[in-house]
């Protein structure tokens, strides 16, 4: 059974792939568990080893018939490859002139051999120290060459492997190239019940094992059981980046190294490759339009490039900045700094609540507005005040504390989320989006809650969990939601997420990356403007709606 691709991991090893006679970039492959499946026993078939020539031989003959283009042969296995009753040959050869090493398939046709040499790999200054050819199952062959490379002052060994299939005619199914103390074992098994063998490889590096699968289809290698044709080639479109991500699976320790691609751009593990892999994965999610997943990955410690974030953001967002030196420090017992849009006197203004309450005009001038009700205090009787959110559901319960009557005693804790064991303790903070007659509206990336509050200002049972596409209660008040509840926002270091009409957009205008993380945000009543407090400035973001 093929195991599904696991999103939460930086997956898979990108290895060299050759299907048929073609060279190509490496293959992204899924990472599964470390279960090792033994090669199935084929009664009536005896596995065989070929001959090896450690120093290499210049010519080879089979039953007195010379094999042309023998070059320097390091291993030979004779077998009836095409089932016509005569003896054909597999050779592992080095072509010094071309500086390649590979497997040659020599098919006997009467008094001659017809030779094909699929999937050669460049030697790049390396020499073959040992080679082998084995016939482990009736239809599979494995060729292996261990090389020593001293180019550019580097003294290291590499292991190259070819897996060939002989069900129709000999063709190379898989080529791998690993460096350093890495062990790769292969098993052959019909994994997708299509009647012929597929390949399962187990890589051991730095004491850890990773199992990799390839489904061998007539059209080439596939990753997924449901795919009718080879998907691996389609995945090669951005193979390098995906390979960086997938290669992390084999970067399991300081001693493990992995060569990627036929060229000279192999990367050393772990830091350079790991960092590139992390960015590549998150960037890929952003490019694919999977914004929430990408941001969730960032919350879990992934990294995204500024360019990918800019490209994923909604275009046409303009910004103006109002300098606003914040007066005083917010009290620890009062909720975080809050913003709200006011529509009064014909021009929208902002209301900033912290230790003081100010009104900020478009001219940037701040005026005291102590008579205004705070954004996060209900105007109902009896009034209630929302105070801090505590915890984030990772290491501890996330909760809101409510104070009845506008006083700071007698808090009622409302649990928003149980610990979910996320990696980053600081990730996934809850925000109070606003409130409605039904109660408080709270959200974090990927989750929303309504905390029902009674007319007595007390929590009314457990919070209501909202589906992703459910509307908020209405009419909604508070900074981060429009009155109809259809548009709401979450500010993040990467920009402002704007949720509206079942869609989510990232508002990230030009120059966003240069600035502190937001400390508060608000959306206008019609959802066309967002105000974000960053340091000592308020950014007004506007969409061209």
């Amino acid at each position: 059974m093929i195991r599904p691709l696991r999103r939460s991991l930086l997956l898979v090893l990108l290895l060299a792939l050759a299907c048929g006679d073609e060279e190509g970039p490496r293959v992204p492959i899924p990472v599964a568990t470390t279960d090792e499946v033994p090669t199935p026993v084929d009664t009536g078939f005896e596995p065989r080893q070929g001959e090896t020539f450690p120093q290499g031989v210049a010519s080879v003959s089979v039953e007195g018939l010379p094999v042309p283009d023998a070059a320097t042969t390091h291993a030979l296995l004779v077998s009836d490859l095409d089932g016509d009753g005569d003896r054909d040959a597999l050779l592992l050869r080095v072509d010094a002139a071309r500086q390649v090493v590979g497997v040659s398939v020599a098919i006997r046709e009467g008094g001659t051999f017809r030779v094909r040499a699929p999937s050669p790999l460049p030697l790049e200054g390396c020499v073959v120290e040992a080679a082998s050819l084995t016939h482990p199952t009736r239809s599979s062959f494995v060729a292996e060459a261990r090389t020593r490379c001293t180019a550019e002052g580097v003294d290291e060994s590499r292991t190259l492997r070819w897996i060939l299939s002989n069900e129709a005619s000999p063709r190379v199914r898989l080529v791998t190239s690993t460096r350093g103390e890495t062990t790769l074992r292969f098993a052959f098994e019909d994994l997708d019940d299509d009647g012929h063998e597929d390949v399962r490889g187990t890589v051991e590096a730095a004491g850890r094992e990773t199992t990799l699968h390839w489904l061998d289809r007539p059209g080439g290698l596939a990753l997924d059981r449901a795919e009718p044709a080879a998907s691996v080639r389609a995945a090669m479109a951005d193979a390098r980046e995906r390979g960086l991500v997938l290669a992390r699976a084999l970067c399991l320790g300081d001693d493990a190294t992995l060569r990627l691609g036929p060229g000279r751009w192999g990367l050393d593990c772990p830091e350079e490759l790991l960092g590139a892999a992390r960015v590549a994965q998150t960037d890929a999610l952003l490019r694919a339009g999977r914004l929430v997943e990408a941001l969730a990955a960032l919350d879990a410690g992934a990294v995204a490039s500024a360019e990918a974030l800019d490209a994923a953001a909604r275009s046409g967002i303009t910004q103006t900045r109002l300098p606003f030196p914040y007066r005083g420090e917010p009290s620890l017992d009062v909720t975080h700094l809050a913003l709200g849009f006011l529509a009064s006197e014909g021009a929208p203004e902002l209301r900033v609540q912290g230790a003081s309450i100010d009104r900020v005009g478009r001219d940037g001038r701040a005026r005291p507005a102590d008579a205004e009700p705070p954004v996060l205090r209900s105007g109902d009787e009896p009034p209630w005040t929302v105070v801090r959110t505590r915890g984030n559901g990772c290491g501890a319960e996330a909760s809101l504390a409510l104070f009845l009557g506008g006083t700071l005693g007698g808090a009622h804790e409302v649990t928003l989320a149980r610990p979910d064991g996320c990696e980053n303790e600081d990730a996934r903070p809850w925000r109070v989006v606003g409130w409605a007659p039904q109660g408080l509206l709270a959200a974090r990336l990927g989750e929303r809650r309504v905390v029902p509050i009674t007319t007595d200002g007390l929590p009314a049972g457990d919070p209501v969990v909202l589906d992703a596409d459910a509307p908020w209660p209405a009419p909604a008040r508070g900074g981060r939601v429009t009155p109809d509840g259809d548009t709401w926002i979450l500010e993040r270091p990467e920009g402002v997420l704007v949720f509206s009409g079942g869609r989510v957009e990232l508002w990230r205008p030009e120059g966003w990356a240069q600035g502190p993380a937001p400390s508060a945000a608000a959306v206008s009543a019609d959802g066309s403007e967002v105000a974000v407090l960053r340091g000592d400035a308020i950014w007004i973001l506007s969409s061209a709606r």
Binding site: D380, A436, P437, Q438, G439, V450, P452, I453, T454, T455, A460, G461, V464, V465, L466, D467, D469, A470, P471, W472, P473, A474, P475, D484, G485
Partner: protein, 425 residues
């Protein structure tokens, strides 16, 4: 400044066209009427006038087809015998389906649609100020103004199948599949949420003393403060909305086919067997007969002691609640696509064929017109004789029972997620 309910009703009443004489003030209880008027058939009327009218009707030879509108004694444990539509499922705790207001007599036009994101199975309920309350399978409960604008929205933890019930003080009660019965102020604020431990997909019923009766894993009586007064468990989940019998007991049907009568003190009075699952609510006729539909296609009538009086067979499930016309005619739809009219003795008077199953219950206006939706996407209006007066295409199945507002606007939900408002052209 908000208009008081009475003033608003007066404004609405004054806007009605085609009427040369002033109409009595709309009402739901005697307390809403001035001076020595009483609330009779939804209108404030002079007591002497009503008595004279009732006396004339009785002397003609028919059974009095309205209840005497004598104010009940303060400590009465039974429903005050006043015919006035109350804002709950099927117009009141007896589920007779009569409306206080006449609906469109000719094919109406659609005035507006309030959209939700999933089916509106529940029946809308119209409050005294004209606000329309309806729940949706998208888990929202909406309060919609008479002009179609959203006043407020409550979001539950799960789907809302049931209709709401409004108490005399304006409290809105609604249940959800999230197991909670919630009490909301007219502003949408939560008074309390009560976990009944099981899905609630039947409409609550509010008694004259303010007790809320709800069905979930059995029958519950809840006081206005949200405390459970009593609970009578049943063998399985009850989908039948409680009906209140004037002799002082609550009636529900069960999926086992049992009609259960529970006294208002929580004691089981009797159980009777209808023979198959009962999904709809019981209707209590003017003479106290209890009528239910079953999944075996039967309409079954029991007397107040639980004895079966008669049984009528349709061609398929009867999941609607029978409506009771003032002359005793019972009107109910069947999954066999017909609307049936039965006499008080269970004899067929007429039947009308639609092209879809009928899950919704019928409503009967003061003119005797019958309004019912079908799963053929049509909203039908029939004459008391079962003739088609008009049909409008709503667009998708209608399982919601219609309601009629004080201005004659007809409200109905549909599977397209809409609460539709139809007005006379």
């Amino acid at each position: 400044m908000k208009l008081s309910a009475t003033l608003l009703l007066l404004v609405l009443a004054s806007c009605r066209t085609g009427q040369d004489t002033p109409q009595p003030t709309p009402c739901m209880s005697d307390s809403e009427c001035r001076a020595d008027r009483i609330c009779h058939e939804g209108r404030c009327r002079f007591l002497e006038e009503v008595r004279a009218e009732l006396g004339a009707q009785t002397s003609i030879g028919g059974e009095a087809n309205v209840d005497a509108s004598v104010p009940p004694a303060p400590d009465a444990a039974v429903e005050a015998p006043v015919f006035a539509e109350l804002p709950m499922f099927m117009g009141g705790p007896r589920h007779r389906g009569r409306t206080a207001n006449a609906g469109p007599a000719t094919e109406p036009r659609r005035a507006w649609t309030h959209r939700t994101r999933a089916r509106v199975f529940a029946s809308p309920v119209v409050g005294p100020d004209g606000t329309v309350y309806v729940g949706s399978l998208d888990k929202t409960f909406s309060a919609v103004a008479a002009d179609g604008t959203l006043r407020w929205r409550y979001v539950a933890g799960d789907k809302i199948y049931a209709s709401a019930a409004l108490a005399a003080d304006g409290t809105v009660y609604v249940g959800s599949l999230d197991h909670h019965l919630v009490a909301l102020e007219p502003s949408g604020r939560v008074k309390w949420r009560l976990d009944l431990g099981d899905e609630i997909d039947a409409s609550p019923t509010v008694g004259p003393d303010g007790t809320v009766y709800a069905s979930a894993a059995g029958v519950y009586a809840v006081d206005p403060a949200g405390a459970i007064r009593w609970h009578v468990p049943t063998a399985s989940h009850v989908r039948s909305s409680p009906a209140l019998h004037p002799e002082g007991f609550v009636v529900v049907g069960t999926p086992e086919g049992t009609v259960v009568a529970v006294r208002t003190n929580g004691e089981v009075a009797w159980r009777a067997e209808a023979g198959a699952s009962i999904d709809g609510a019981a209707a209590i006729t003017d003479d106290g007969m209890i009528v239910v539909g079953t999944d075996r296609g039967h309409v079954v009538a029991f007397d107040a002691s639980g004895a079966e009086r008669w049984r009528f067979e349709t061609g398929d499930d009867v999941r609607a609640t029978p409506a009771v016309a003032p002359d005793g005619t019972l009107v109910v739809g069947s999954y066999d696509r017909h609307v049936y009219a039965l006499s008080a003795a269970g004899q067929l008077r007429w039947r009308f064929e639609t092209t879809g199953r009928l899950r919704a219950s019928a409503r009967i206006d003061p003119e005797g017109r019958i309004y019912v939706g079908s799963q053929d996407d049509g909203l039908y209006c029939l004459s008391p004789a079962g003739e088609l007066l008009w049909r409008v295409e709503v667009g998708q199945d209608i399982d919601s029972t219609a309601a009629i507002g004080g201005d004659g606007t007809l409200y109905v939900g549909a599977d397209d997620g809409g609460l539709h408002a139809f007005v006379a052209r």
